[in-house]
């Protein structure tokens, strides 16, 4: 009896189900599973959003934020936004400015607006302060003439252009400054003067030092990774532990020990002198050499591990095959084995390069002024001068460069994957 009822109800439901397209039915069947999966990753997604994406986004926004003038003189900024930039602003805008200045006199917002304007044009700060003190204008006087009487600079187009530009809510000022450029009074982008242009140098140095460290890691790591794959498991495991050992020690401790080892009275110099190889201690630390030595040491495992994992998958039979085809051993290695390790070489190099680009503590402790990398200046602006705009702009440039590299890499890796898929 029960069986009969069940069959009947099934038969009733079946035609309804069947009429739906197959795709819809599949989606329905999968929906529950998908929701479950989403629920499982939701905590991580929320965590990442709150602790990673949002703060970083907010910080990067600082590189184009321009709140001072908009905050100090909001009505003036709004009025000047409609001005065409020719001659002097219309009387209505001047009236708004005068009225706002009177009201804002002595406020901290006005002070920070003045400071911000001063970065664009020297002397603007005192101009604002002087004007604020001299207001209000005598009753019934012409606004234009009255302002010019307080300071003749109010009669110049340039003064108002600077304020109009600084009154925009977003600015390219910091980003341009991070690339040693600035907008001049006429609004054209020009190179910064020589005494102010330091960031391109710093970025170039960051790239160069990262490149050298990457190459050192590759040259040292490649043979070791190869050794790891060719040794019997027992000894290769032991060697692997030695490779990973530095991970278990704090970077600060390792950097400090490098100072102990490399300083002029340090172990290395003493040993070399005792052996009679040198008379004077070599300068091994607090210069670029010291930074290279320490960074290579710290980053080496990041090169070895991807190399090792790729090499582990390459059968040694290829080398035999190449030799049986008449290729001498070294050439076989170069033509047959090495090309197959390229994905590992690229992955390791990218990892080491990107990590080195952000290095701060090692150059700060082991280098001189000429070894400081971009991160040092970011730290300088955040910790010492509290210039969030410059810190954020430098970070943006660094992140942009890193992302660009990553795109290049993923394109290469993507091609590799496609080729591998095609195979």
């Amino acid at each position: 009896m029960t069986a009969t009822t069940l069959t009947a109800s099934d038969a009733a439901a079946a035609p309804d189900e069947r009429t739906l397209p197959l795709k819809t039915r599949l989606q329905r069947a999968e929906r529950r599973k998908k929701l479950l999966h989403l629920a499982l990753i939701a905590p991580l997604a929320v965590f990442l959003l709150l602790t990673f994406l949002w703060p970083i986004g907010a910080l990067l926004k600082r590189s184009v934020d321009n709140p001072e003038v908009v905050g100090g003189l909001p009505a003036t900024a709004a009025a000047l936004a409609h001005w065409n930039g020719q001659g002097l602003p219309p009387a209505s805008a001047l009236a708004v400015f005068v009225k706002e200045m009177e009201g804002a006199r002595g406020s901290t917002e006005l002070a920070s607006a003045a400071k911000r304007l001063n970065t664009e044009m020297t002397g603007y700060r005192s101009l604002i302060m002087k004007t604020a003190r001299s207001l209000p204008l005598p009753d019934g006087s012409n606004l234009q003439e009255g302002l010019a009487a307080i300071d003749p600079r109010w009669g110049e187009t340039r003064t108002w252009q600077v304020m109009a530009r600084a009154g925009q809510p977003y600015t390219s000022y910091y980003l341009l400054a991070a690339l040693d450029h600035a907008v001049d009074a006429d609004g054209a982008i020009v190179a910064a003067t020589e005494d102010q242009a330091i960031y391109l140098d710093v970025l170039g140095r960051t790239f160069w030092m990262s490149l050298v460290v990457t190459l050192c890691c590759l040259v040292l790591g490649f043979p070791l990774a190869y050794l790891l794959t060719s040794l019997p498991t027992r000894s290769s495991n032991l060697l692997m532990i030695l490779v990973l050992l530095p991970f278990w020690t704090s970077i600060l401790v390792r950097v400090a020990s490098w100072i102990v080892l490399l300083q002029s009275g340090g172990l290395v110099n003493q040993a070399l002198q005792a052996l009679g190889l040198i008379d004077e201690p070599l300068q091994l630390v607090f210069n670029r050499l010291g930074v290279y030595i320490a960074m290579t040491h710290i980053l080496l495992p990041f090169m070895i591990l991807p190399l090792y994992s790729v090499m582990k998958g390459i059968s040694p039979i290829y080398l035999r095959a190449a030799q049986s085809l008449g290729c001498p051993p070294f050439q076989s290695f170069w033509k047959v084995y090495f090309p197959q390790t390229l994905p590992g070489v690229f992955a390791g190099s990218l990892l080491v390069f990107i990590l080195s680009m952000g290095y701060y503590i090692t150059p700060a402790l082991l280098g001189g002024p000429q070894e400081q990398m971009a991160s040092y200046f970011i730290a300088f602006y955040t910790n010492e001068t509290i210039n969030w705009g410059m810190a954020a702009a430098l970070s943006t440039v660094l992140l942009g460069a890193t992302l660009l590299l990553y795109v290049v890499y993923s394109r290469y890796a993507g091609q590799g994957r496609n080729a591998a898929k095609a195979r």
Binding site: A322, L325, P328, P339, A422, R423
Partner: protein
């Protein structure tokens, strides 16, 4: 006594003289290898795993060095010649086609290493691709090809630089049965048309029997017998070969008397059988008699046989072209017979008594395999 195929000459191409190989200094993987490979022949090294056949091949290819002894190719000792100077083509177990090169680049590799002119290289690559009928696949990567196609490319790569000697290390192991059988024929035809020396390693006796001019059966680091497929099967030299190649029924016994080729062996049941003496010791020593299941005759046909028994049918297994009949001889000994369908009378049933005959010519008496 070896049967020769037409293309095979008698001249020795490769000789192994008293070759020994040990990896750990304790056990000999190859004990005492004396082998002559004739120019132009297809020689298969057959044996169970660990029998030393692959080591033997690797020593010839140059990837292993003999611990002692001499290997000559064309009269020159090559013990110390590195593999890349030996000019020996080799096909590996998993083909070892270079995954980062296209098929054509794989074939160009041995030629460009030899610094041939570009035009020659192109012509040879084209010819090699045509030889394995894969002309259209030059621009593919190895992983885009099927197993059989990869196998053919590996073969083409081993032959493209025209070596006189080609070695193959279980090259068909990764293919499915049907493709494997197809490739066996293809490789055999290729050998016949090229006339160069092939040395083939396998543990698959069917493969060895299909392809080879001669087969060297390896066990425990020594060649047990080297002969044509027919001789190996019909006239195994010792108990190992008899058991390893094909199926056989074996009985332990004692050698009773010997008269030239003929001998008599007493079985534990007390019965005395007439057999051919192949490889037996002195009278009184223990011996193994062995007979192929298809050489045993049943019922009326057994009338003229030297050895006749009464038995009982235990089990019948239908195999399509033949029936496997399990017979009970009493005393816990049993006998397996392969009877062709056409010769089998229909009334055979389990538990039925039956007459069995074993012709003395096909019952071979051998010394038992030393157990160690």
């Amino acid at each position: 006594m070896a049967a020769q195929s037409g293309s095979t000459g008698q001249e020795a191409h490769v000789t192994f003289t008293r070759v020994q190989k040990t990896y750990d200094g304790e056990t000999l993987i190859v004990r005492d290898l004396n082998l002559e490979i004739r120019r132009g022949e297809f020689l298969t090294l057959l044996g169970p795993s660990g029998s030393g056949k692959t080591t033997c091949l690797m020593m010839l290819a140059g990837f292993e060095t003999p611990t002692s002894g001499e290997i000559r190719v064309g009269g020159t000792v090559i013990n110390k010649v590195p593999p890349h100077r030996r000019n020996i083509g080799m096909v590996f177990q998993n083909y070892a086609l270079f995954p980062h090169m296209t098929v054509a680049e794989n074939l160009r590799f041995p030629l460009s290493v030899r610094k041939l002119p570009a035009a020659d290289i192109d012509a040879k690559v084209k010819r090699a691709l045509a030889m394995v009928r894969l002309e259209a696949f030059g621009n593919r990567y190895p992983q885009q090809l099927s197993g059989g196609q990869q196998q053919r490319i590996a073969l083409a790569r081993a032959l493209v630089f025209e070596p006189e000697l080609v070695l193959m290390d279980e090259p068909l192991g990764a293919l499915d049965k049907q493709l494997r059988e197809h490739m066996q024929i293809e490789i055999k035809h290729l050998h016949d048309s090229l006339g160069i020396t092939f040395v083939f390693v396998t543990h698959d006796q069917g493969e060895a029997l299909t392809m080879s001019d001669r087969i060297a059966v390896f066990d425990r680091g020594e060649i047990q017998q080297i002969d044509s497929a027919e001789c190996l099967y019909e006239e195994p030299a010792n108990a190992f070969v008899a058991g390893f190649i094909g199926e056989s029924n074996t009985f332990q016994g004692t050698l009773l008397e010997r008269n030239g080729d003929a001998c008599a062996v007493r079985l534990p049941s007390g019965a005395v059988v007439q057999a051919r003496a192949a490889d037996v010791g002195d009278v009184g020593s223990s011996a193994v008699v062995s007979v192929r299941p298809e050489r045993i005759v049943l019922n009326g046909a057994s009338a003229g046989c030297e050895n006749r028994f009464s038995a009982k049918v235990k089990e019948l297994i239908y195999q399509g072209d033949h029936v496997r009949v399990q017979l009970d001889l009493g005393n816990q000994s049993s006998l397996m017979v392969k009877a062709p369908i056409s010769q089998l009378s229909h009334e055979l049933r389990p538990e039925q008594p039956i007459e069995v005959g074993i012709p003395a010519a096909h019952l071979r008496a051998l010394a038992p395999t030393p157990s160690a």
